[in-house]
């Protein structure tokens, strides 16, 4: 290597480092503005007491046995839902990715159904099905009472299932055929090869999924408020304090308390991640599941059972949207689709616009954050990583309030987009930043560095490698991330309720108010419109992919 070559190389390397620093710095700056500033607004509220700044609110909180028992409830339900969701979703994802059972594409769509609908729909559907006057009790004369722990358990299980499934199926989709062939050659049983090959290879996915599900459940408000009965959890107590009693300080205290479990989850997740190796190397042989009649049939039964449960809840909501008066007059009617709310169907169009803007911004923001995180050294990337997944721990209501507190000030630069659709989109991006980031990270983790090192050795810059090697490998998952944000933006409720304006009303909020007004069938009908939009969007995108000649890519992965 002569001198001039070395100089050029170094210059390219410097340019590289600059680019990486710019990407990482930009990501961190945006996270600070759109996550930390709002949280700071909330945190400072938690310290405001009648007697000046102090920890008085926290003392009051822990001095009250009722609040302490709410913490107990919250953990009880969050941990049990998380455990159940991971086990069920892992099985489901395994069956879809690692067997040749029939109906796989259909079952994939069914597994994702809950993600297409506002979380309220789970609770609404469960009430129609398992409520005291629900289909099951009316049909079988049973006296099931779903309200309380079990209501939240089932509703949140369904609600979190697709999120776990998405992450786990991404993790299970890739694997090295050679490992399984070696295991088989060495005489390992199916169970043993699962335990020694599959499970370790998907550890990172499991950790991510566990973390994501736990935080989704612990911060979920929609399900416990509808079907939780007298079983109080923290996220609902925030609502009690903030919206019920206009007690921002106590609401803020609970918001801050909810951040702690997330920090713990991060530590645990990091610990596991350090033991993770890339599952796919340059010499890997892509995994091909071989048919096995008995195994495939068993898995099919399992998946049909789980799928039926998911489908039933959604189907009953669709059904209810077409009947005259649930549950007393079940003759079919279209009358609930003539929405007699203030703006009629208009909020649906607004939601669609917001969803497109959200997806567009999110794809760039999240991919770059994950990319920087992937490239940076362990010590440097920690703050970026922490900031990226922090939003998962922030209940939507806290984030939404934080946005008002932080940005509703004409002197603030962000004020330029306040009161517009853009701030709602930005709020969505950062509300779901963690999930998107983890999807992107899980994917990058599984691309061996070998490819990138080879590319760098061949003289490519980081940008070149990103554009020509990394992106072509992960673009389906980038699209999937866009789809994920589109879906979230269509259905989210708790954060944006504080940011909507007269001219930017959203569909999910309409569902909430229709439900609250008692127009259950109309609420169901509006929810069906949302679901149809999301599914329609996915099908259209899939069709475009097919036309572009991409056949093997499943968009909703």
């Amino acid at each position: 290597m002569n001198l001039s070559q070395g100089g050029a190389w170094r210059a390219a390397a410097d340019g590289d480092r600059l680019l990486l620093a710019a990407v990482a710095g930009g990501a961190v700056l945006l996270l600070v503005v759109f996550v930390i500033l709002p949280l700071w607004g909330i945190l400072s509220y938690s310290l405001i007491t009648p007697g000046g700044l102090g920890l008085g609110n926290y003392a009051r909180y822990f001095g009250d046995p009722r609040f302490v028992s709410i913490i107990g409830n919250t953990f009880e339900v969050s941990l049990s839902v998380t455990a159940a969701t991971i086990v069920l979703a892992y099985g489901f994802a395994y069956a879809l990715e690692r067997t040749r059972m029939p109906l796989r594409p259909l079952l994939r769509v069914v597994a994702l159904l809950p993600i297409f609908a506002p979380s309220l729909v789970q609770a609404l559907g469960l009430q129609f099905l398992l409520g005291r006057n629900g289909l099951v009790n009316r049909t079988f004369g049973t006296e099931l009472d779903i309200y309380g722990f079990w209501g939240i358990f089932v509703a949140d299980l369904l609600y979190a299932f697709p999120h776990a499934f998405l992450i786990l199926s991404t993790a299970l989709a890739v694997g090295d055929q050679r490992l399984y062939e070696s295991a088989e050659a060495l005489g390992a049983s199916a169970w043993r090869s699962f335990r020694t090959v599959t499970l370790p290879a998907t550890r990172y996915g499991i950790a991510s999924a566990t973390f994501v599900v736990f935080t989704i459940v612990i911060t979920d408000f929609g399900n416990p408020v509808v079907i939780g009965g007298n079983y109080s959890v923290l996220a609902v107590e925030i609502y009690n304090q903030v919206s019920g009693q206009a007690n921002f300080s106590m609401g803020a205290v609970i918001g801050v308390l909810l951040l702690f479990p997330a920090a713990l989850a991060v530590v645990a997740e990091r610990w596991i991640a350090r033991h993770q190796h890339a599952a796919v190397g340059a010499q890997s042989v892509p995994l091909r599941a071989r048919p096995n009649r008995r195994r495939d049939l068993l898995w099919l039964c399992y998946c049909l059972l789980v799928g039926a449960a998911i489908l039933a809840v959604v189907a009953v909501v669709v059904y209810a949207s077409f009947v005259r008066l649930w549950p007393y007059n079940l003759s079919l009617s279209l009358r609930h689709y003539a929405f007699d709310v203030q703006n009629g169907i208009a909020p649906l169009w607004t939601s669609i616009q917001v969803a497109f803007v959200t997806a567009g911004i999110a794809v760039v923001v999240v991919t770059l954050a994950a990319y920087a995180n992937h490239q940076l050294s362990e010590a440097v990337k920690r703050p970026l990583y922490f900031l990226s997944i922090l939003p998962a721990a922030v209940p939507g209501m806290v984030l939404g309030l934080g946005y008002i507190l932080a940005f509703n000030d004409p002197a603030h630069p962000v004020y330029a987009i306040y009161d517009t659709m853009l701030i709602i989109a930005v709020c969505n991006v950062y509300h779901y930043h963690a999930q998107g980031f983890l999807l992107a990270t899980t994917n990058m983790k599984q691309i061996s560095r070998t490819f990138e090192e080879a590319s760098a050795t061949l003289g490519a810059t980081r940008l070149g490698t990103l554009l020509r090697v990394t992106l072509p490998m992960i673009w389906p998952s980038v699209l999937a991330i866009g789809a994920f944000f589109f879906m979230r933006a269509m259905v989210t409720l708790s954060a944006v309720i504080f940011l909507i304006t007269p001219s930017t009303q959203l569909a999910a909020v309409s569902v909430l108010y229709l439900d609250d007004r008692g127009a259950l069938n109309q609420a169901a009908a509006f929810a069906v419109c949302i679901m149809a939009t999301v599914i329609g969007f996915l099908l259209a995108t899939q069709a475009v992919l097919r036309l572009a000649g991409v056949r093997q890519v499943s968009l909703i992965r």
């Binding site: 609502y239 497109f356 504080f498 007269p502 609250d516 007004r517």
Partner: protein, 341 residues
Amino acid sequence: MTGLPMKSWLGRTLAAATMSLFAAGSALAGTITVYTSYEEDELAAFLEEAKKDLPDVEVEVLRLSTGDLHARMLAEASNPKHDVIWGWAATSMVDPRILELVEAYEPAGIDKVPPRFRDAGNKWFATTGYMGAFCVNNAIMEADDLPMPASWQDLLKPEYEGRLVMPNPASSGTGYLHVVSILQMMGEEKGWAFLDALDKNMAQYIKSGSKPCNVASAGEYAIGISFALRAIKNIEEGYPITMVVPSEGAGHELEASALMASSQNKADARKFLDWTLSKAAAAEYNEWKSIVTMSDREMPERFLKAGLPADISTALFEVDYAWAAENRDRILAEWQKRYER
């Protein structure tokens, strides 16, 4: 589908998206922003009338529940976005943090509203209100051979155990009005003893005020303690329920309106507030509200049919709003200590 409509749809969507992306909601001349907690359906009717009567004022409305609106207005307090508060719980309006934001105004026709329905300092006035009522599911009553309740006292009957639902006063204004009316009519000591006894029959305290009626309508529970108009609307929807106004007198809440001190368009904001007291507005209220404070009301036939008395004041317990507002924190803390699990 041909290409053309698709294109124009796309064009419109894009145009709308661009507009709402970049046109920050600045106060245009002739435009006012109104925050309200009127229910969606009644709001739509009121607005239609307002559009007719105020052709040169563009009224932009944001509708949120009482609590969500309270939280939003407090959070926005440093830079309020609205010109008018319209039809929002009076017991929330008297929050000193809110009163600080509004400006005294004496709208035209305010003398039609008796003094007890407005602020002595003219900071707010209430043209409408809602009253508490029970929603009783006839199908369940019949199937399980239960007696129809007529009063609060009736609700203590042991056969109702696990069959009642009511709103949680800590998160619902309707829940609070019920608790306040009981404490005021019975006195605090007896009132709490009554609530203790009621708690034994209570299956659930629900977060929202209309939900108890809705779940009773859907047959999830037999009796939902809620408010009258919800019951009337659900009866009209076709649900098999009966509205019961407790014979001891029903608690009620006023829906108050006020002018924001920060308004950039006070001329139109005042015009709108004047309109809320107009004859035409009153005619609309009459169709939708159980309580209209402006004198000389004739109760619509359908309300009478559903069980409201011709003279609503005979059914109401006269709530002391000031007391309800001042003691709110204390009462809620006590209530939560006793009944929240």
